[in-house]
Amino acid sequence: MDNGASSYCRFISGDESGIVELIELYRDGLILYINSFTKNIVEAEDIVEDVFLKLMMRKPHYNGRASFKTWLYIIAGNVAKDYLRKKSRQGKVCLEDVSEILEDETELENMYLKEEQKIQLHHSIRKLDSEHQQILWLIYFESMSISEAASVVRKSVHATGNLVYKARKALKIQLESDGFVYEKI
């Protein structure tokens, strides 16, 4: 399984269906990942559209050194950071209704995560700080290794390992405060 690399290659060669496949494969996961940056699902959707727009306009070269998924998440992280930087300079205000945002987020969680346990876990993760949310999403929900996650968050493997450890500790505290009960073995 090449995680979409062949679809991207087909798109580069001129087959538009390649990018459609990538959107179907990665859109939801990217939205939830970028939501850890923005805390706003609507903005996260816009940013994901910008990520795919960047792929369509600039057609960046994928050299195959990392997996396609890792490469795409790196691009998404950079686009999200640029967006937030611009937003802080412009002082943008979100006009979307808060209840609508929460509704969209819940709907997406249900669609993408599907399993109840995963959804509960994600609810707890959303209460952590942004950096912990991002790393836990990549490790637990996108099944990335520490080294792949290190590439995405632009840290060393050692620093990423430390971050994962701290994020897990914080998650444990959060789960306990959310009433999560450990199963007795």
């Binding site: 459609v20 959107i23 179907e24 859109r27 994901v48 559209e49 727009l53 997406l108």
Partner: protein, 187 residues
Amino acid sequence: MRSYGETYERIIAKKSIAESKIKARNKRIKKYATAVSCLCICFVVVFLISKAGTYTSAGGSNTANDLRTEFPADRSQQTVVTQDNTTKVYEADGNTDSSVEGQILPEGNGESEAYRIRMVNAAMKALPDEDYDKIKIDESYIIEKYIKEGAQEIELCLIHLEGNTFYYEVEIDVEGKKIYDFIKKAK
């Protein structure tokens, strides 16, 4: 929550907006580049025109003495245009000033013209000796030089100033205009 189709359509719409912005920007850049190029070309042309007609006398690139003389038909007066664009009129009847040194003993015609001495002195003062010594100035050098500069006729006359100092009096014809020059001969 948008569907995959809606997301794709929005991306396509954003793409066409971005492409039209890029097209408009490229058009603007092209316009400004053309305007700047035209300005540069005009500047270069004006610069070249202002430099055209500059004439340097002998000594190659080291000439500071850019004295040119135009003799009227009767040769009773001589107007010298010096390098700083002031004009001086020398009388042919031998009026001299304190800068006159030596005597000209031209070969062949027996005339002695004081104004030539004045111009020769000015030519001597304009260039240090060591610069002349670097260049072998002789008849062939002078002829070659003036032919390159468009002279149709060249007349050379060797003038003995004093001691070992000789000057070439050069009379050339450039497009029907008589031009005179004095060039110190190398030792």
